[in-house]
Assembly symmetry: C2
Homo-oligomer: 240 residues x 2
């Protein structure tokens, strides 16, 4: 049986303008690989209602799980929650459970739960809250879409709390081998190896360092015995 | 007149598996912003023929320019060039001009231009080559799609050579101001500001450092006078 599939949707003008370097994609991809969920696609869209809604609908139809990051804060450009609700035709308003979490947090901080902060309690009716241990404002899961904050520390905490609730598959195991030959010399034997082991994903990642050409050959699969067999053949082709 | 729009397509299992952290998106987004081309969407897909073809077709229809990175090397997993040709219904084969570039390069290196390396001369009939000053194997432009290598140094060199051939718009100017108040306190005045200046994109990026809550407010637009006006109002709302 093949692993569950996933997509990620990164929401934010600041990534597309080059102001901010996204860090969440790299974190999520590593976590999903360990967890046996195959990340198949990532999209980055701007803070634009039609763009977010269209992407959510397409991705949630095409993949088993969808993870979003960004756009769930208190300011006018934080429109993710409302867009997710619209994508699913769900009702959204300030929800009592989310409001209680925020009220407790701001009481403790002696800050007012004003109208802007209250926007962070806007949660679709049938969504399940995702805990935010850092700044309290929750994320949520609606259907197969998991809506999380863009701030990396909060995103990571939310991923950690959501992953154990999902059905994972076989973790993808990865083995790599450094070959100090140009990729053009490696290509033919590697292609033959890929044909012999159709269950493995075999990639070649070239490098050039201090005038030395080479490639890191990476094999990925879920069966350690097959991976080991293929690695023995690779090393025989290209002895260190 | 609004600026030209663009999308980026990153091709590679190694990004989706978390093995490699993509660096090209951040580079391209910064370059396009300076050049007055609005990057509206980024997609990352795996080394999968149908996924690449579908993404190229969608993006090239939806945006003025499309930039791809990855999958144009000599190994079996380098399928980008053939997928781009298929997406446009174009013929592709080893092309004489690309072959001559590679032949000269490998002659100089005293390496054989073998079958694998020759794959890098597979270029669609009507495409225009993009110079690769680093490892010579060219990228190409076909229609509004610009196909470039995934290795960051080569990608950057190719972007530098392709951008001056495109029609840019007004560079997006960005001004930011650090407010040491919680985002919830900033939100209402910021929303009013956004309503007053509809041609500006105003974003708020929260931080939390050493127990201090705050946000960097970023305003982007193409008219420096309007930006300056809005910044004066923002600073009046939140004096340093």
């Amino acid at each position: 049986m093949s692993n569950p599939t996933a997509a990620m949707l990164v929401i934010g003008d600041e990534i597309l303008s080059g102001r901010t370097r996204d860090a969440n994609m790299h974190h999520l991809s590593g976590q999903l690989t360990q967890y046996g969920i195959d990340l198949k696609e990532v999209r980055v869209v701007s803070d634009d209602r039609p763009a977010i809604i269209a992407a959510v609908q397409t991705l949630s139809h095409s993949y088993d799980q969808v993870f979003t990051s960004g756009g769930i804060g208190p300011t006018h450009d934080d429109i993710t929650a409302d867009c997710i609700a619209a994508a699913f035709g769900a009702q959204i308003d300030v929800r009592a459970d989310a409001r209680a979490i925020l009220q407790a947090h701001y009481n403790e901080q002696q800050l007012e739960l004003n109208e802007a902060r209250l926007r962070m309690a806007r949660i679709p009716d049938v969504a399940v809250l995702i805990d935010n241990p850092i700044s309290k404002a929750p994320g949520f899961s609606l259907g197969n879409v998991h809506v999380m904050a863009g701030v990396p520390a909060i995103f990571q905490a939310m991923v950690a709390s959501i992953l154990p609730t999902l059905t994972g598959g076989k973790p993808l195991i990865s083995k790599s081998y450094r070959v100090e030959r140009g990729e053009g010399d490696i290509a033919a034997p590697l292609s033959a190896l890929a044909d012999s082991y159709p269950t493995l994903s075999i990639g070649s990642y070239p490098f050039q360092k201090n005038g030395l050409f080479g490639a890191n050959v990476v094999m990925r699969g879920t069966d350690i015995d097959i991976l080991n067999q293929a690695m023995i053949r690779l090393k025989a082709e290209f002895p260190a």
